[in-house]
Amino acid sequence: MINLLRLIGGRNASAPVARERLQILLAHERGLRGQPELLGLLRAEILAVVSRHVVLDPEKVVVRMDRGKHVSTLEVDIEVPNGFERSLAAAS
């Protein structure tokens, strides 16, 4: 019965499109969920490790994650002040 009605009203059957769009979108959004916490954690730990050896401005540490279809990338960008060899020497 339901299939018959679907056949008659085939033109108007937008529900399958809705379902597909939702499935794709939610798969993506569920992947993003919890990610900000992960990035924050990574950033804090990277900062702690590098700071043990180099004097850093915490504001200049950027951790970014890009999700691709097949591969994702984790990008860590740390800006180091110019006289950092000197601070290295002082630390050792």
Partner: protein
Amino acid sequence: MAKVLVVTSGKGGVGKTTSTAALGAALAQMGEKVVVIDFDVGLRNLDLVMGAERRVVFDLINVVQGVAKLSQALIRDKRLDNLWLLPASQTRDKDALTDEGVGRIIADLRTNFDWILCDSPAGIERGATLAMRYADEAVIVTNPEVSSVRDSDRIIGMLDSKTVKAERGERVEKHVLITRYDSTRAARGEMLAIDDILEILATPLLGIIPESQDVLRASNVGSPVTLNNAASAPARAYMDAVRRLMGETVNMVVPVERKGLMNRLLRRRAA
């Protein structure tokens, strides 16, 4: 033992307040002692839907801040003497709610009631997070429509991470309540089907409330639909949902208004 149930959705306008009133009244009609709490601070409406808008003296914020005692803020329903309302404040903003203040009130209510229903505001901010914070169970009100399903998914994620139960490593028991369902349009493929919604949200179904004039009629006169017209299709659907909440196994059918051949054929059967 008292149960704290949050009625939530993320999206606005899907029927949270209507459903809170109907479920609360239905539980009370079955003999349970029930309190419904409006968490929509600044935009309260549960009082209006329950027909108690002229009897509000003190509110949730007054109790949180110690201005009034809980017993002074609770309003007893005029039709059911085991149904109570704790209204939200209309003048304050949601920042006046505190986690520990809400926790204190819920703990207090647990000693006195069988069911504590928390009507969540729309959105994912303070009011919504505090409404779900102490929940044992959650009813996620969802319309068969893409934006509502997406927001429900987001709310389910929050129920699994931001509640006291989740933080303790326990689970909030979640149920999807589908409202404004039109079985004719769903059969024609114009509206997301129940099975699609349940599959996407991966959450069990509590009930299907059909789109109906009776819902608007009930809120117009300030009476939960299960009280205003108990024989109506939405009222029967809410009563079935409440029986399921209480642990009964009730066949999943979409109650219909007319008893025509088409309608009978379009009725949905589920476990």
